[in-house]
Symmetry: C2
Subunit: 281 residues, 2 copies
């Protein structure tokens, strides 16, 4: 089924190099796009208050703030300081009217080889943020990332594992079900053998859905994502699986692309995204 | 437990750029290493007969021939021709006295977005090779590769999935248990959340064990592996898990490293590998 244009959301990172915060909103509005995911660095560059004002004036909704988390440090002081950062980011997400803060775990500390330990710390960190998130009315969307960034960005590497974590967090805290959810990124998870079954298992936990594509000749572990339709990911099928679980929220196009889309005119990028809505998103 | 030096095996690819087939054997012997995994391209460059003679004369054992498989083509003629290639590679493996042919599935065909279909074809291909492998006395070691090469090299992306495939192949063929096994590569699977449990499940299926390391600043999806001890993989722990299942075969150091180890003197590379046997392998 063709995506309802009102559900299209374009992540600010898709215009990472071309636009600052205000310019990205202008480009979205010019192209009839009224949902975005806010990239924290862009918001910080102008301040939360100014960002909120620009969002309000433009009529663009902030679906989520990206990214929080980073909770794998072995050093207790650093771990606590990351928790404090997240508390600020939760407030920031609330201030811009976002429904969720997308959180990633962070990778391995320098010299750390204890992956299970790093995972345990991130899980503990998320559990500690539940009360603050609830108080602020913000959901924490745990985002498993591709196993290729396990070393440096996310030790949570599959939807299966995200489901396992949520099982545990929900059994430990009565608030977890209300506060926590999953951000499902097709680029991160398309390879997962039982993805359909894990989406079924996730059910209503899926609160954000990010799409991009896997290029056959991809050349970078993080910054070489493709436009939906240009690669090997069946985004339409994945969207079907998610919608079979009742999801009818925004579909976020999130393209990190140092060698292609970040070099193009914003209007051209957004025009292509809108075209792909009819065929590949 | 420190690795018994007799179990150390160095894959020919670890000296990919420095040595041809004969030179790699010379380097191994000079450094007291008497096990290798043969890289098919190096063998083909001199011919199977000459390769066998050199192995015999040097006293270096070929543990396995790498790599066969590549069975994801949607074109029936190409698929059949890949099966024929594998039949030749099985004979070749037998001729050099290897115990196994390491097989990878291959990636997605150009324009293919049906990952489940590609996986099905590879599974079917492996099942068809069982009789020939058995007749030649060669085991087929299915090697799941890292999800980051799912698009272009292996649609089999986890040990869990390899176990699922072997469950199915064993239930379909009485010969499967005898012929098929798994090549476990720590670089490909270190991120897997339930790796220990999947190793337990694999049990005696594990017939090859490859080690290298995940560099914190890694910059390539395939050719930037690190020396054990230089990155985030706990190879010692993974070896313990495998040995708890009864594995006491070769431990193969397999390092694709375009920017570092492939540029160094072979004796230096092998000296470092031997040092790391005491601490990180």
């Amino acid at each position: 089924m063709t995506l309802d244009p009102d559900r299209l959301c374009v992540h600010q990172v898709t215009l990472m190099k071309q636009c600052d915060f205000a310019q990205s909103l202008d480009a979205f509005v010019r192209n009839g796009i009224f949902k975005t995911a806010v990239w924290r660095e862009k918001l910080d560059a102008i301040g939360t208050q100014e960002g909120s004002r620009l969002l309000k004036d433009s009529g663009v909704d902030a679906v989520s703030l990206c990214a929080g988390g980073f909770l794998t440090s072995r050093d207790p002081a650093n771990f606590q300081s990351s928790l404090d950062d997240n508390r600020r980011w939760i407030e920031q997400a609330a201030a811009i009217g976002a429904a969720s803060l997308v959180v990633i775990t962070g990778g391995l500390d320098e010299g750390d080889r204890d992956l299970a330990g790093a995972r345990k710390r991130a899980l503990e960190g998320f559990s500690q943020l539940i009360p603050e998130a609830r108080a602020a009315g913000i959901r924490l969307a745990l985002e498993p990332l591709h196993p290729m960034v396990c070393g440096f960005r996310s030790v949570l590497s599959s939807l299966r594992e995200a489901n396992d974590w949520l099982d545990q967090l929900e059994s430990d805290s009565a608030m977890a079900r209300e506060v926590l959810g999953i951000a499902l990124d097709s680029y991160a998870l398309w390879w997962e053998a039982d993805l359909e079954a894990q989406i079924e298992r996730a059910g209503q936990r899926i609160i954000n859905f990010h799409v991009s594509d896997w290029l056959p000749d991809t050349c970078d572990l993080r910054l070489d994502r493709g436009m939906p339709g240009d690669g090997g990911i069946d985004n339409l099928r994945i969207r079907q699986w998610i919608e079979a679980q009742g999801y009818n929220g925004p579909v976020e196009v999130e393209i990190f692309s140092e060698r292609n889309w970040w070099l193009r005119d914003p209007n051209e990028v957004l025009k292509v995204i809108k075209e792909r809505c009819a065929t590949a998103i």
